[in-house]
């Protein structure tokens, strides 16, 4: 009897939930790599500093998955879209992952690549499942469509609950109540596959959030967090930026980029001013997430945020291009919101980052903007 694979994939925020949904439908065991990056520094002992932080995160998570018993690795890849732009780091690095992981783990395992690219997204997943032997017949293809729709539904639910949670959290009377509800929802959503129970979980969570007591007299400031997606959803060296800002300052976090919107609701990220400004300030794509980050910034301005925080990997040229584009827009656009770029990698100091974030939030709160 063929041994059932144990699937391991990077944490990668909601992407893991999306990928795992297929394997849960196939009733395969999935390994949950924890979000914590506290031991991340040890990565420096076996990865090159020329890799960007995103590459290091992906690689480190795969190694953790192997250490936790995975025998089938589904690696997330940015390589396809960076082929189109000058940033070649993901392309250069990712194809070596398999070989490096084999040397490090000192054992063999199956290895497949799933492309985080909106063109190849669906095809990529089909390809992975086909290579693993799960899409052989026309009946399997029909089943795949159902699996895909379920995975998509889970992303949509996650997106809606997160958006609702962020609005309510800034006004909650009892600190920590909304984030606790959200955390419990995410934990259950990741593992639930039954349609009826999913619906109950979603509507039940919505009711709980709506029931949270809010201080309506509070008019919270709103900050957008933008940047490369993998960096945003990972924990910093030692702390979680969104929770830190929300808990300490009761500021609403606006997250322009979500996995659901990026793959299934692209129009919401490309409306109106976004196209107009892109033509003028960001015509060329450097191949990383620069275009996305730039669009997120413009969406954030449309949403009338009070401030924008860019999370930038140390040495990431595409994200640096965004800063230059922002500097140019600031000269032309009146009332551009306060903008701070936080540069970090595994060598960054959490206290230094916290000080900068605190100063930014305090500046906003005291500015009367």
């Amino acid at each position: 009897m063929k041994k059932q694979p144990k699937i391991g994939t990077p944490y990668a925020g909601e992407m893991r939930m999306f990928i795992y949904s297929f394997f849960q439908d196939l009733r395969l065991e999935t390994i949950y790599v924890p979000k914590s990056q506290l031991n991340f520094r040890e990565l420096s002992s076996f990865s090159s500093d020329e890799w960007c932080y995103t590459m290091k995160l992906l690689y480190y998570d795969l190694l953790k998955a192997l250490n936790m018993g995975a025998d089938t690795i589904i690696s997330g890849s940015n390589a396809l879209f960076t082929l189109l732009g000058p940033c070649k780091i993901p392309h250069l690095v990712e194809h070596r992952f398999k070989e490096l992981l084999r040397k490090k783990a000192k054992r063999d395992f199956d290895y497949h690549v799933f492309y985080f690219n909106n063109i190849a997204f669906k095809l990529s997943m089909m390809d992975v499942l086909r290579k693993m032997g799960y899409l052989r017949t026309p009946g399997d293809m029909l089943r795949f469509r159902k699996m895909f729709n379920k995975a998509k539904l889970k992303l949509k639910m996650s997106d809606e609950i997160a958006t609702t949670m962020r609005k309510i959290r800034a006004k909650e009377k009892k600190k920590g109540e909304t984030s606790k509800i959200h955390r419990e929802f995410v934990q259950k959503l990741e593992k639930e596959q039954d349609d009826k129970r999913l619906e109950e979980l979603f509507s039940g969570t919505k009711r709980k959030l709506m029931a949270v007591k809010q201080d309506e007299s509070r008019k919270p400031k709103k900050i957008a967090i933008v940047g490369d997606y993998i960096s945003i959803v990972s924990e910093f060296p030692c702390f979680d930026l969104e929770n830190f800002i929300s808990d300490k300052f009761s500021i609403e976090i606006y997250q322009p980029f979500t996995v659901y919107k990026y793959y299934f609701d692209k129009k919401s990220l490309r409306s109106g001013k976004v196209n107009e400004f892109e033509k003028k300030y960001m015509r060329f794509w450097a191949g990383g997430s620069d275009q996305n980050t730039f669009r997120m910034i413009l969406k954030a301005i449309e949403e009338d945020v009070d401030g924008i925080i860019q999370l930038r990997n140390f040495g990431c040229m595409p994200e640096q291009m965004v800063i230059e584009a922002v500097n140019q827009i600031k000269e032309d656009v009146e009332d551009f919101p306060p903008f701070i770029s936080i540069c970090f990698d595994e060598h960054a100091n959490a206290e230094g980052i916290k000080t900068r974030v605190e100063a930014f939030c305090n500046t906003l709160l005291r500015s009367g903007r």
Binding site: P34, S36, L38, N39, C238, F239, D240, D247, F314, P338, I340, I342, C343, E351, G352, T355, R356, E358, A359, F360, N362, T363, R366, S367, G368
Partner: protein, 313 residues
């Protein structure tokens, strides 16, 4: 009369500012920590014993730890504290350049509020520690550094990207016979240029410009900024204590009915820390348990800090 005490716990110094309830500066104190801020805190607090402290504010890189030990009513980041102090004492100021022991800041002010700011990120060249280090290497007292630099007629060019490269450049200049004052003046200019490109990021700085932080005491740095910015930077009276003044003002703005300040007698007791690791989740946070000895000599826990989840507060 009610008093607010502000403490700025920096990387190489700890500064105190005592303000009355009219926000007027009564007394200030600047102390070097020499790696032991708790000892410096105890020493500094003795100066203010005769005043009844109604509220305490703490800022600086050591604010969270010292805030807990001292019993702060408010804890604010140093950028906010500096902005508040400048806006209170120099309301017409538009730009603040603050260069401390380990970090540098730029604060842009407009219409009475802080409009923008930035800090140094990965680069430490151009901070007070580097000047200290070079003064020691050349056998000069840091207090004399600026005066010697002012004697220069022709400052030499020194690499400014990184402290290691700057030092090797300086050594090379010494070996090739450059005058000491020219090297020091050149170093001041390269640090100022490094600051303007990495922290100010090429922005046009609006006047009036204030220079704060311990480095403001260095006349060579003042001259370097004047030359490069083509203006006269202003060094305020309390340039090294503005953070402490600012956080004292913030403490006054949020005056509590009863202060959390532990009192001066508390600092006559023993204070010590123990470190442990929390195993409740994969984060494995390093926890610092802070203890004091009570009047009976018994060990008493004051606080635990270091948990990411905030489980221990």
């Amino acid at each position: 009369m009610r008093y607010a005490l502000g403490i700025d716990v920096g990387s190489i110094s700890i500064n105190f500012a005592l303000l009355n309830d009219k926000k007027k500066v009564v007394e200030t104190l600047y102390l070097r920590t020499f790696g032991d801020p708790t000892k410096a805190l105890r020493k500094g607090l003795k100066k203010f014993k005769k005043h009844k402290i109604s509220t305490l504010g703490v800022t600086g890189s050591g604010r969270n730890f010292m805030g807990i030990i001292a019993g702060a009513d408010v804890i604010f980041d140093e950028i906010t504290a500096h902005s508040v102090a400048v806006l209170h004492m120099y309301p017409k100021a538009r730009t603040v350049i603050e260069i401390g022991g380990q970090d540098s800041k730029l604060i842009c002010l407009e219409k009475g509020v802080s409009k923008d700011f930035s800090m140094n990120s990965v680069c430490a060249a151009g901070t007070g520690s580097f000047l200290d280090q070079q003064a020691a290497r050349l056998g000069i007292k840091i207090e004399d550094f600026g005066g010697i630099a002012l004697e220069s007629k022709k400052p030499t060019r020194i690499a400014g990207r990184c402290t290691v490269f700057a030092e090797s450049d300086m050594i090379h200049k010494q070996q090739t016979g450059y005058k000491r004052e020219d090297i020091l003046a050149g170093l001041c200019e390269s640090l100022a240029l490094n600051y303007l490109s990495t922290v100010a990021m090429g922005k046009i700085l609006d006047e009036p410009i204030l220079l704060l932080g311990g480095v403001a005491a260095n006349k060579g740095m003042k001259q370097a900024f004047n030359k490069i910015l083509r203006t006269k930077v202003i060094i305020p009276e309390h340039y090294s204590c503005m953070g402490a003044i600012g956080v004292a003002i913030l403490a006054l703005e949020d005056m509590p009915e009863k202060t959390k300040f532990r009192g001066f007698e508390f600092f006559d007791t023993d204070l010590f820390q123990e470190v442990s690791e929390c195993g409740d989740c994969p984060n494995r946070c390093e926890l610092i348990h802070i203890f004091c000895t009570d009047k009976k000599g018994k060990k008493k826990k004051i606080a635990v800090i270091g948990s990411v989840c905030g489980k221990y507060r």
